[in-house]
Amino acid sequence: MAMKERVERVDDVKVWYGELPVNSLYTAGIGGEQFFRTLKDQGVITGTKCEECGVIYVPGRIFCQRCLAKLERWVKVGPEGTLESWTVLHLGLDGKPMVEPQIVGLIKLDGASTMFVHRLGNVRLDQLRMGMKVRPVLKPKSQREGAITDIKFFEPA
Protein backbone atom coordinates (compact mmCIF):
# COMPACT_ATOMS: atom_id res chain seq x y z
CA MET A 1 0.00 0.00 0.00
CA ALA A 2 1.52 3.24 -1.08
CA MET A 3 -0.27 5.27 1.53
CA LYS A 4 -1.34 4.11 4.95
CA GLU A 5 -3.81 6.88 5.21
CA ARG A 6 -6.40 8.44 2.93
CA VAL A 7 -9.03 11.11 3.12
CA GLU A 8 -12.01 9.03 4.17
CA ARG A 9 -14.88 11.49 4.04
CA VAL A 10 -15.89 13.81 1.24
CA ASP A 11 -16.44 16.48 3.87
CA ASP A 12 -12.74 16.36 4.76
CA VAL A 13 -11.56 17.30 1.28
CA LYS A 14 -9.82 20.68 1.43
CA VAL A 15 -8.61 23.10 -1.19
CA TRP A 16 -6.72 26.36 -1.21
CA TYR A 17 -7.27 29.12 -3.76
CA GLY A 18 -4.62 31.33 -5.28
CA GLU A 19 -3.15 32.76 -8.42
CA LEU A 20 0.03 33.74 -10.18
CA PRO A 21 -0.22 37.53 -10.05
CA VAL A 22 1.72 38.26 -13.22
CA ASN A 23 1.44 41.73 -14.69
CA SER A 24 3.86 42.12 -17.54
CA LEU A 25 5.22 44.86 -19.73
CA TYR A 26 6.81 43.60 -22.91
CA THR A 27 9.06 45.77 -25.02
CA ALA A 28 8.54 45.32 -28.73
CA GLY A 29 12.27 44.64 -28.99
CA ILE A 30 14.75 45.93 -31.52
CA GLY A 31 13.09 44.15 -34.42
CA GLY A 32 9.57 44.79 -33.17
CA GLU A 33 10.29 48.49 -32.67
CA GLN A 34 11.28 48.90 -36.30
CA PHE A 35 8.42 46.75 -37.58
CA PHE A 36 5.70 48.46 -35.57
CA ARG A 37 7.05 51.99 -36.10
CA THR A 38 6.83 51.47 -39.84
CA LEU A 39 3.37 50.00 -39.52
CA LYS A 40 2.23 52.86 -37.31
CA ASP A 41 3.79 55.74 -39.21
CA GLN A 42 3.64 54.51 -42.80
CA GLY A 43 0.95 51.85 -42.70
CA VAL A 44 3.36 49.43 -44.27
CA ILE A 45 4.20 45.82 -43.36
CA THR A 46 7.91 45.08 -43.44
CA GLY A 47 10.21 42.13 -43.15
CA THR A 48 13.91 41.44 -42.94
CA LYS A 49 15.90 39.40 -45.39
CA CYS A 50 18.62 36.90 -44.57
CA GLU A 51 21.06 37.21 -47.44
CA GLU A 52 22.63 33.89 -46.49
CA CYS A 53 19.45 31.80 -46.43
CA GLY A 54 17.35 33.89 -48.79
CA VAL A 55 14.48 33.93 -46.29
CA ILE A 56 12.34 37.03 -45.80
CA TYR A 57 10.96 37.08 -42.28
CA VAL A 58 7.71 38.89 -41.64
CA PRO A 59 7.31 40.51 -39.18
CA GLY A 60 10.88 41.65 -39.55
CA ARG A 61 13.29 40.39 -36.93
CA ILE A 62 16.93 40.97 -36.16
CA PHE A 63 18.18 37.42 -36.46
CA CYS A 64 17.77 34.51 -38.83
CA GLN A 65 16.48 31.46 -37.00
CA ARG A 66 18.34 29.20 -39.42
CA CYS A 67 21.87 30.59 -39.28
CA LEU A 68 21.68 33.29 -36.58
CA ALA A 69 22.92 35.94 -39.00
CA LYS A 70 22.18 39.46 -37.88
CA LEU A 71 19.47 40.82 -40.18
CA GLU A 72 19.61 44.44 -41.16
CA ARG A 73 18.01 44.60 -44.58
CA TRP A 74 14.37 45.67 -44.23
CA VAL A 75 12.02 45.11 -47.12
CA LYS A 76 8.44 46.07 -47.77
CA VAL A 77 6.02 43.18 -48.26
CA GLY A 78 2.35 42.83 -49.17
CA PRO A 79 0.06 44.50 -48.51
CA GLU A 80 -1.85 41.75 -50.25
CA GLY A 81 -1.35 38.13 -49.45
CA THR A 82 -2.67 34.63 -49.96
CA LEU A 83 -4.87 32.79 -47.49
CA GLU A 84 -3.07 29.58 -46.60
CA SER A 85 -5.48 28.38 -43.91
CA TRP A 86 -8.25 29.62 -41.66
CA THR A 87 -10.24 28.58 -38.65
CA VAL A 88 -13.42 29.70 -36.98
CA LEU A 89 -12.60 30.06 -33.32
CA HIS A 90 -15.51 29.58 -30.95
CA LEU A 91 -13.77 29.65 -27.58
CA GLY A 92 -12.60 32.75 -25.76
CA LEU A 93 -9.67 33.12 -23.40
CA ASP A 94 -11.93 32.04 -20.55
CA GLY A 95 -12.50 28.72 -22.32
CA LYS A 96 -16.16 29.54 -22.85
CA PRO A 97 -17.99 29.83 -26.18
CA MET A 98 -17.85 33.36 -27.58
CA VAL A 99 -21.01 35.13 -28.65
CA GLU A 100 -19.33 36.01 -31.91
CA PRO A 101 -16.94 33.38 -33.25
CA GLN A 102 -13.78 34.81 -34.74
CA ILE A 103 -12.29 33.91 -38.08
CA VAL A 104 -8.52 33.65 -37.96
CA GLY A 105 -6.35 33.39 -41.03
CA LEU A 106 -2.89 32.17 -41.91
CA ILE A 107 -1.67 34.53 -44.57
CA LYS A 108 1.37 34.53 -46.80
CA LEU A 109 2.00 38.14 -47.67
CA ASP A 110 3.29 38.82 -51.16
CA GLY A 111 7.06 38.86 -51.03
CA ALA A 112 7.34 37.13 -47.65
CA SER A 113 8.80 33.69 -47.01
CA THR A 114 6.87 33.27 -43.78
CA MET A 115 3.26 33.32 -42.64
CA PHE A 116 1.31 36.07 -40.97
CA VAL A 117 -1.38 35.38 -38.38
CA HIS A 118 -4.34 37.69 -37.99
CA ARG A 119 -8.11 37.95 -37.90
CA LEU A 120 -10.22 37.90 -41.05
CA GLY A 121 -13.11 40.30 -41.48
CA ASN A 122 -15.65 41.53 -44.02
CA VAL A 123 -15.97 37.97 -45.21
CA ARG A 124 -18.65 35.28 -45.17
CA LEU A 125 -17.67 31.75 -44.18
CA ASP A 126 -18.75 30.35 -47.53
CA GLN A 127 -16.41 32.78 -49.28
CA LEU A 128 -13.31 31.35 -47.63
CA ARG A 129 -11.04 29.44 -50.01
CA MET A 130 -7.49 28.21 -49.73
CA GLY A 131 -5.35 30.48 -51.85
CA MET A 132 -7.75 33.43 -51.92
CA LYS A 133 -6.21 36.89 -51.99
CA VAL A 134 -6.60 39.03 -48.90
CA ARG A 135 -5.46 42.49 -47.84
CA PRO A 136 -5.00 44.18 -44.49
CA VAL A 137 -7.42 46.75 -43.11
CA LEU A 138 -5.54 49.16 -40.88
CA LYS A 139 -6.82 51.40 -38.15
CA PRO A 140 -6.74 55.07 -39.07
CA LYS A 141 -3.29 56.52 -38.49
CA SER A 142 -4.41 58.59 -35.53
CA GLN A 143 -5.56 55.48 -33.68
CA ARG A 144 -2.51 53.36 -34.39
CA GLU A 145 -0.26 52.71 -31.43
CA GLY A 146 2.49 50.55 -32.84
CA ALA A 147 1.02 47.13 -32.10
CA ILE A 148 -0.20 44.11 -34.00
CA THR A 149 -3.73 45.37 -33.42
CA ASP A 150 -3.01 48.40 -35.64
CA ILE A 151 -4.13 45.97 -38.30
CA LYS A 152 -7.87 45.48 -37.69
CA PHE A 153 -8.10 42.35 -39.82
CA PHE A 154 -7.54 41.06 -43.33
CA GLU A 155 -10.37 41.11 -45.86
CA PRO A 156 -10.86 39.62 -49.32
CA ALA A 157 -8.82 41.59 -51.84
Binding site: A2, M3, R6, V7, V13, V15, G18, E19, L20, V22, S24, Y26, A28, G29, G32, V55, Y57, V58, P59, Q65, E84, S85, W86, T87, V88, L89, H90, L91, G92, L93, D94, G95, P97, Q102, V104, G105, L106, T114, M115, F116, V117, H118, R119, M130, A147, I148, T149
Partner: protein
Protein backbone atom coordinates in the same frame (compact mmCIF):
# COMPACT_ATOMS: atom_id res chain seq x y z
CA UNK B 1 22.99 3.37 -28.30
CA UNK B 2 26.47 2.38 -27.29
CA UNK B 3 25.86 2.42 -23.56
CA UNK B 4 22.44 0.91 -23.13
CA UNK B 5 19.87 2.07 -20.63
CA UNK B 6 16.79 0.16 -19.54
CA UNK B 7 13.49 1.01 -17.93
CA UNK B 8 13.42 -1.24 -14.87
CA UNK B 9 10.42 0.10 -13.02
CA UNK B 10 7.48 2.35 -13.65
CA UNK B 11 4.85 3.52 -11.21
CA UNK B 12 1.62 5.24 -12.08
CA UNK B 13 -1.55 6.46 -10.41
CA UNK B 14 -5.04 6.27 -11.86
CA UNK B 15 -5.69 9.04 -14.36
CA UNK B 16 -8.81 10.89 -13.26
CA UNK B 17 -10.49 14.12 -14.22
CA UNK B 18 -10.20 15.31 -10.63
CA UNK B 19 -8.19 14.03 -7.65
CA UNK B 20 -9.48 16.05 -4.71
CA UNK B 21 -8.32 13.57 -2.09
CA UNK B 22 -4.58 13.88 -2.66
CA UNK B 23 -2.05 16.67 -3.02
CA UNK B 24 0.44 16.55 -5.88
CA UNK B 25 3.07 15.42 -3.39
CA UNK B 26 0.94 12.51 -2.25
CA UNK B 27 0.07 11.53 -5.80
CA UNK B 28 3.75 11.48 -6.75
CA UNK B 29 4.62 9.57 -3.58
CA UNK B 30 2.20 6.83 -4.56
CA UNK B 31 3.68 6.52 -8.05
CA UNK B 32 7.21 6.57 -6.63
CA UNK B 33 6.54 3.79 -4.11
CA UNK B 34 5.14 1.63 -6.92
CA UNK B 35 8.06 2.33 -9.26
CA UNK B 36 10.70 1.62 -6.64
CA UNK B 37 8.99 -1.57 -5.62
CA UNK B 38 8.85 -2.79 -9.19
CA UNK B 39 12.53 -1.97 -9.76
CA UNK B 40 13.58 -3.21 -6.35
CA UNK B 41 15.42 -0.03 -5.44
CA UNK B 42 15.58 2.14 -2.35
CA UNK B 43 15.72 5.78 -3.47
CA UNK B 44 17.76 6.88 -0.48
CA UNK B 45 20.40 4.22 -1.14
CA UNK B 46 20.31 3.11 -4.75
CA UNK B 47 19.29 6.03 -6.93
CA UNK B 48 22.05 8.33 -8.20
CA UNK B 49 20.09 11.02 -9.96
CA UNK B 50 16.53 12.32 -10.24
CA UNK B 51 14.92 14.29 -13.06
CA UNK B 52 11.52 15.94 -12.79
CA UNK B 53 9.62 17.61 -15.60
CA UNK B 54 7.24 20.45 -14.86
CA UNK B 55 6.11 23.88 -15.97
CA UNK B 56 5.58 26.57 -13.35
CA UNK B 57 2.35 27.96 -14.83
CA UNK B 58 0.76 24.52 -14.78
CA UNK B 59 1.58 24.14 -11.10
CA UNK B 60 0.78 27.70 -10.08
CA UNK B 61 4.16 27.89 -8.39
CA UNK B 62 7.32 29.64 -9.51
CA UNK B 63 10.43 27.45 -9.49
CA UNK B 64 8.37 24.32 -8.94
CA UNK B 65 11.69 22.48 -8.78
CA UNK B 66 11.72 23.32 -5.08
CA UNK B 67 8.92 20.94 -4.28
CA UNK B 68 10.25 17.89 -6.11
CA UNK B 69 12.63 16.03 -3.80
CA UNK B 70 10.75 14.90 -0.70
CA UNK B 71 8.05 12.71 -2.19
CA UNK B 72 10.65 10.98 -4.38
CA UNK B 73 13.05 10.19 -1.55
CA UNK B 74 15.49 12.52 -3.26
CA UNK B 75 16.24 15.15 -0.61
CA UNK B 76 19.87 16.24 -0.55
CA UNK B 77 20.59 14.17 -3.64
CA UNK B 78 21.10 14.94 -7.33
CA UNK B 79 17.79 16.39 -8.48
CA UNK B 80 17.03 18.62 -11.42
CA UNK B 81 13.97 19.88 -13.22
CA UNK B 82 13.55 19.98 -16.96
CA UNK B 83 10.96 22.53 -18.01
CA UNK B 84 9.91 20.12 -20.69
CA UNK B 85 8.00 16.98 -21.57
CA UNK B 86 8.37 13.81 -19.50
CA UNK B 87 10.25 12.15 -22.34
CA UNK B 88 12.76 15.03 -22.25
CA UNK B 89 13.31 13.93 -18.68
CA UNK B 90 13.94 10.36 -19.82
CA UNK B 91 16.45 11.66 -22.35
CA UNK B 92 18.18 13.78 -19.68
CA UNK B 93 18.40 10.77 -17.36
CA UNK B 94 19.74 8.53 -20.13
CA UNK B 95 22.39 11.09 -21.05
CA UNK B 96 23.48 11.23 -17.43
CA UNK B 97 23.74 7.43 -17.22
CA UNK B 98 25.67 7.36 -20.50
CA UNK B 99 28.40 9.57 -19.03
CA UNK B 100 29.24 6.65 -16.77
CA UNK B 101 28.87 8.77 -13.64
CA UNK B 102 25.40 7.49 -12.74
CA UNK B 103 23.95 4.00 -12.63
CA UNK B 104 20.33 4.38 -11.57
CA UNK B 105 18.15 7.35 -12.47
CA UNK B 106 14.57 8.30 -11.71
CA UNK B 107 12.26 10.44 -13.82
CA UNK B 108 9.08 11.96 -12.42
CA UNK B 109 6.23 13.93 -13.94
CA UNK B 110 2.70 14.56 -12.89
CA UNK B 111 -0.40 16.49 -13.83
CA UNK B 112 -2.71 18.32 -11.49
CA UNK B 113 -4.55 19.79 -14.43
CA UNK B 114 -7.76 19.93 -12.40
CA UNK B 115 -6.20 22.50 -10.08
CA UNK B 116 -5.99 25.05 -12.89
CA UNK B 117 -9.14 27.12 -12.74
CA UNK B 118 -8.24 29.12 -15.85
CA UNK B 119 -6.45 26.65 -18.13
CA UNK B 120 -7.11 28.69 -21.27
CA UNK B 121 -5.97 31.90 -19.61
CA UNK B 122 -2.79 30.14 -18.56
CA UNK B 123 -2.20 28.53 -21.96
CA UNK B 124 -2.42 31.83 -23.83
CA UNK B 125 0.58 33.09 -21.87
CA UNK B 126 2.71 30.79 -24.03
CA UNK B 127 1.94 32.89 -27.11
CA UNK B 128 4.43 35.51 -28.25
CA UNK B 129 3.54 38.52 -26.11
CA UNK B 130 4.20 41.09 -28.83
CA UNK B 131 3.14 39.58 -32.13
CA UNK B 132 0.34 37.17 -31.21
CA UNK B 133 -1.05 37.57 -27.71
CA UNK B 134 -2.57 41.04 -28.24
CA UNK B 135 -5.02 39.43 -30.68
CA UNK B 136 -6.59 37.78 -27.64
CA UNK B 137 -7.15 34.40 -29.26
CA UNK B 138 -7.55 31.10 -27.46
CA UNK B 139 -4.56 28.83 -28.24
CA UNK B 140 -6.90 26.40 -30.02
CA UNK B 141 -6.91 28.66 -33.06
CA UNK B 142 -3.45 27.32 -33.84
CA UNK B 143 -4.76 23.76 -33.92
CA UNK B 144 -7.69 24.90 -36.06
CA UNK B 145 -5.39 26.54 -38.61
CA UNK B 146 -3.06 23.58 -38.69
CA UNK B 147 -5.84 21.00 -38.94
CA UNK B 148 -7.63 22.82 -41.73
CA UNK B 149 -4.48 23.12 -43.78
CA UNK B 150 -3.43 19.53 -43.07
CA UNK B 151 -6.76 18.01 -44.12
CA UNK B 152 -6.78 20.15 -47.26
CA UNK B 153 -3.20 19.37 -48.27
CA UNK B 154 -3.48 15.63 -47.69
CA UNK B 155 -7.04 15.29 -48.97
CA UNK B 156 -8.30 13.92 -45.67
CA UNK B 157 -11.60 14.59 -43.97
CA UNK B 158 -13.13 14.94 -40.55
CA UNK B 159 -14.15 11.29 -40.84
CA UNK B 160 -10.51 10.31 -40.65
CA UNK B 161 -10.07 12.36 -37.51
CA UNK B 162 -13.19 10.92 -35.93
CA UNK B 163 -11.90 7.46 -36.67
CA UNK B 164 -8.76 8.21 -34.65
CA UNK B 165 -10.84 9.45 -31.75
CA UNK B 166 -13.16 6.48 -31.86
CA UNK B 167 -10.26 4.02 -31.96
CA UNK B 168 -8.27 5.57 -29.14
CA UNK B 169 -11.09 6.20 -26.73
CA UNK B 170 -12.33 2.66 -27.28
CA UNK B 171 -8.89 1.17 -26.56
CA UNK B 172 -8.75 3.17 -23.36
CA UNK B 173 -11.65 1.10 -22.02
CA UNK B 174 -9.21 -1.79 -21.70
CA UNK B 175 -6.48 0.27 -20.10
CA UNK B 176 -7.07 0.18 -16.35
CA UNK B 177 -5.40 3.53 -15.64
CA UNK B 178 -7.06 5.46 -18.48
CA UNK B 179 -9.37 8.29 -17.53
CA UNK B 180 -11.20 9.07 -20.76
CA UNK B 181 -12.29 5.76 -22.24
CA UNK B 182 -15.60 5.87 -24.12
CA UNK B 183 -17.55 4.16 -26.86
CA UNK B 184 -18.41 6.93 -29.27
CA UNK B 185 -21.03 6.66 -31.98
CA UNK B 186 -21.45 8.50 -35.26
CA UNK B 187 -24.10 10.57 -33.57
CA UNK B 188 -21.63 11.75 -30.94
CA UNK B 189 -19.40 13.04 -33.69
CA UNK B 190 -22.23 14.57 -35.64
CA UNK B 191 -23.36 16.59 -32.66
CA UNK B 192 -19.95 17.56 -31.30
CA UNK B 193 -19.61 21.27 -30.64
CA UNK B 194 -17.10 23.14 -32.80
CA UNK B 195 -14.24 24.83 -30.96
CA UNK B 196 -11.87 25.93 -33.73
CA UNK B 197 -13.27 24.70 -37.00
CA UNK B 198 -12.64 22.07 -38.21
CA UNK B 199 -11.59 21.07 -34.69
CA UNK B 200 -14.48 20.04 -32.43
CA UNK B 201 -14.74 19.16 -28.78
CA UNK B 202 -14.14 15.45 -29.43
CA UNK B 203 -11.01 16.15 -31.43
CA UNK B 204 -8.87 17.05 -28.48
CA UNK B 205 -7.64 15.22 -25.45
CA UNK B 206 -9.34 16.23 -22.21
CA UNK B 207 -7.09 16.86 -19.23
CA UNK B 208 -6.65 14.42 -16.36
CA UNK B 209 -4.64 14.28 -13.15
CA UNK B 210 -2.04 11.61 -12.59
CA UNK B 211 1.57 10.93 -11.68
CA UNK B 212 4.28 8.76 -13.16
CA UNK B 213 7.69 7.73 -11.89
CA UNK B 214 10.17 5.78 -14.02
CA UNK B 215 13.32 4.03 -12.85
CA UNK B 216 16.13 3.74 -15.40
CA UNK B 217 19.35 1.78 -15.05
CA UNK B 218 22.64 1.32 -16.83
CA UNK B 219 23.13 -2.03 -18.55
CA UNK B 220 25.80 -3.18 -16.11
CA UNK B 221 23.49 -2.90 -13.10
CA UNK B 222 20.22 -4.05 -14.67
CA UNK B 223 20.96 -7.65 -13.73
CA UNK B 224 21.17 -6.74 -10.06
CA UNK B 225 17.75 -5.14 -10.01
CA UNK B 226 14.38 -6.80 -9.69
CA UNK B 227 12.56 -5.07 -12.54
CA UNK B 228 12.15 -6.69 -15.94
CA UNK B 229 14.14 -4.48 -18.32
CA UNK B 230 12.78 -2.75 -21.39
CA UNK B 231 15.63 -1.24 -23.37
CA UNK B 232 15.88 2.28 -24.67
CA UNK B 233 17.59 1.67 -27.99
CA UNK B 234 17.36 5.15 -29.40
CA UNK B 235 16.31 8.65 -28.49
CA UNK B 236 15.85 11.83 -30.42
CA UNK B 237 14.50 15.23 -29.62
CA UNK B 238 14.16 18.42 -31.57
CA UNK B 239 12.62 21.88 -31.69
CA UNK B 240 11.28 23.47 -34.82
CA UNK B 241 10.61 27.14 -35.39
CA UNK B 242 8.66 28.40 -32.43
CA UNK B 243 7.17 31.52 -33.96
CA UNK B 244 3.82 31.00 -35.64
CA UNK B 245 5.03 33.14 -38.50
CA UNK B 246 8.27 31.41 -39.35
CA UNK B 247 7.34 27.80 -38.69
CA UNK B 248 6.79 25.32 -41.48
CA UNK B 249 3.03 24.74 -41.48
CA UNK B 250 3.19 21.83 -43.92
CA UNK B 251 5.65 19.39 -42.45
CA UNK B 252 6.51 18.65 -38.85
CA UNK B 253 10.22 18.85 -39.54
CA UNK B 254 11.03 18.73 -35.83
CA UNK B 255 9.20 15.43 -35.35
CA UNK B 256 10.94 13.97 -38.38
CA UNK B 257 14.34 15.11 -37.13
CA UNK B 258 13.69 13.73 -33.65
CA UNK B 259 12.53 10.46 -35.19
CA UNK B 260 15.51 10.19 -37.49
CA UNK B 261 17.89 10.83 -34.61
CA UNK B 262 16.28 8.06 -32.56
CA UNK B 263 16.16 5.68 -35.51
CA UNK B 264 19.82 6.30 -36.27
CA UNK B 265 20.80 5.54 -32.70
CA UNK B 266 18.64 2.41 -32.62
CA UNK B 267 19.74 1.33 -36.08
CA UNK B 268 16.18 1.40 -37.39
CA UNK B 269 16.44 1.47 -41.17
CA UNK B 270 12.87 0.93 -42.21
CA UNK B 271 10.45 2.29 -39.65
CA UNK B 272 7.35 1.13 -41.53
CA UNK B 273 8.44 -2.48 -41.19
CA UNK B 274 10.39 -2.66 -37.98
CA UNK B 275 8.05 -1.59 -35.23
CA UNK B 276 5.57 -3.87 -33.50
CA UNK B 277 3.52 -0.88 -32.39
CA UNK B 278 3.61 2.88 -31.90
CA UNK B 279 2.59 5.16 -29.05
CA UNK B 280 2.52 8.61 -30.59
CA UNK B 281 1.10 11.95 -29.69
CA UNK B 282 -2.63 12.43 -30.31
CA UNK B 283 -3.33 15.52 -28.26
CA UNK B 284 -5.55 16.46 -31.20
CA UNK B 285 -7.03 13.80 -33.42
CA UNK B 286 -5.31 15.04 -36.57
CA UNK B 287 -1.98 15.09 -34.73
CA UNK B 288 -1.89 11.29 -34.67
CA UNK B 289 -2.10 11.32 -38.46
CA UNK B 290 0.49 14.08 -38.79
CA UNK B 291 2.84 12.25 -36.46
CA UNK B 292 2.45 8.97 -38.33
CA UNK B 293 3.63 10.77 -41.44
CA UNK B 294 6.40 12.72 -39.78
CA UNK B 295 7.78 9.61 -38.14
CA UNK B 296 7.77 7.84 -41.53
CA UNK B 297 5.39 5.17 -40.23
CA UNK B 298 3.14 5.47 -43.28
CA UNK B 299 3.31 7.21 -46.64
CA UNK B 300 1.11 10.15 -47.43
CA UNK B 301 -0.60 8.20 -50.19
CA UNK B 302 -1.60 5.35 -47.88
CA UNK B 303 -2.45 7.25 -44.73
CA UNK B 304 -6.20 7.73 -45.12
CA UNK B 305 -6.98 4.32 -46.53
CA UNK B 306 -4.77 2.50 -44.04
CA UNK B 307 -6.53 4.22 -41.19
CA UNK B 308 -10.00 3.39 -42.45
CA UNK B 309 -8.93 -0.18 -43.18
CA UNK B 310 -7.95 -0.61 -39.54
CA UNK B 311 -4.23 -0.90 -40.18
CA UNK B 312 -3.51 1.14 -37.04
CA UNK B 313 -5.84 -0.94 -34.90
CA UNK B 314 -5.04 -3.85 -32.58
CA UNK B 315 -5.11 -6.31 -35.44
CA UNK B 316 -3.60 -4.01 -38.02
CA UNK B 317 -0.15 -3.81 -39.53
CA UNK B 318 1.02 -1.17 -37.06
CA UNK B 319 -1.15 -0.85 -33.96
CA UNK B 320 -1.09 2.81 -32.89
CA UNK B 321 -1.96 4.01 -29.41
CA UNK B 322 -3.34 0.80 -27.99
CA UNK B 323 -3.08 2.60 -24.65
CA UNK B 324 -5.96 4.80 -25.73
CA UNK B 325 -3.55 7.63 -26.39
CA UNK B 326 -4.00 11.04 -24.88
CA UNK B 327 -7.52 11.05 -26.29
CA UNK B 328 -8.40 7.94 -24.31
CA UNK B 329 -6.12 8.12 -21.27
CA UNK B 330 -6.47 11.87 -20.90
CA UNK B 331 -4.06 14.74 -21.37
CA UNK B 332 -1.48 14.92 -18.61
CA UNK B 333 0.49 18.01 -19.69
CA UNK B 334 4.18 17.27 -19.00
CA UNK B 335 3.32 13.70 -17.99
CA UNK B 336 1.63 12.79 -21.28
CA UNK B 337 4.75 11.26 -22.83
CA UNK B 338 5.52 9.16 -19.76
CA UNK B 339 2.01 7.74 -19.86
CA UNK B 340 2.78 6.50 -23.38
CA UNK B 341 6.12 5.14 -22.22
CA UNK B 342 4.29 3.35 -19.42
CA UNK B 343 2.02 1.60 -21.87
CA UNK B 344 4.83 0.75 -24.27
CA UNK B 345 6.71 -0.86 -21.38
CA UNK B 346 3.59 -2.81 -20.44
CA UNK B 347 3.15 -4.05 -24.01
CA UNK B 348 6.80 -5.05 -24.36
CA UNK B 349 6.67 -6.92 -21.07
CA UNK B 350 3.46 -8.67 -22.11
CA UNK B 351 1.42 -7.02 -19.36
CA UNK B 352 -1.06 -5.01 -21.45
CA UNK B 353 -4.11 -7.11 -20.57
CA UNK B 354 -6.93 -7.15 -23.09
CA UNK B 355 -5.02 -4.89 -25.47
CA UNK B 356 -1.91 -7.05 -25.37
CA UNK B 357 -0.29 -7.54 -28.76
CA UNK B 358 1.26 -10.81 -29.75
CA UNK B 359 4.93 -10.88 -28.91
CA UNK B 360 5.89 -7.26 -29.57
CA UNK B 361 9.62 -6.65 -29.96
CA UNK B 362 10.24 -3.07 -30.83
CA UNK B 363 8.23 0.13 -30.39
CA UNK B 364 8.38 3.83 -31.11
CA UNK B 365 7.13 6.31 -28.52
CA UNK B 366 6.73 10.01 -29.31
CA UNK B 367 5.58 13.09 -27.48
CA UNK B 368 4.84 16.66 -28.42
CA UNK B 369 4.70 19.60 -26.03
CA UNK B 370 1.36 20.91 -27.18
CA UNK B 371 0.30 24.34 -28.41
CA UNK B 372 1.96 26.56 -29.40
CA UNK B 373 5.20 24.58 -29.35
CA UNK B 374 7.22 22.75 -31.95
CA UNK B 375 9.03 20.43 -29.59
CA UNK B 376 9.07 16.67 -29.87
CA UNK B 377 10.80 13.67 -28.33
CA UNK B 378 11.05 10.18 -29.80
CA UNK B 379 12.21 6.97 -28.11
CA UNK B 380 12.79 3.55 -29.64
CA UNK B 381 12.24 0.72 -27.17
CA UNK B 382 12.84 -3.01 -27.33
CA UNK B 383 11.94 -5.92 -25.09
Amino acid sequence: MKKRVAVVGIGVTQFRSITPDVSYKEMVYEAAVKAYQEAGVDPRRDVDTFVSCSEDYHEGTSIFDEYVPDQLGAALKQVQTIAGEGLHGVVAACLQIMTGEFKVAVVETHSKASNMLTPDGIAVCAQDPVFNRPLGLNNLFIAGLEMNRFLYKYKLSKAHCSRVVQKNRCYALNNPIAGRGALLTDEDFATARMVAEPLDQLDFAQPVDGALVVVLAAEDVVGRLKGKPVWIEGMGWCNGAVSLESRDWDTLDYVTKAGDMAYRMADVKNPIEEFSFAEIDDTYSYKELQHLLALRLVTAGELGDSLLAGQFGLNGKLPVNTSGGALGMGYLHEATGLARLYWAVKQLRGEAGKNQLLNPRKAVVQSWRGLPTTSAVVLVLSS
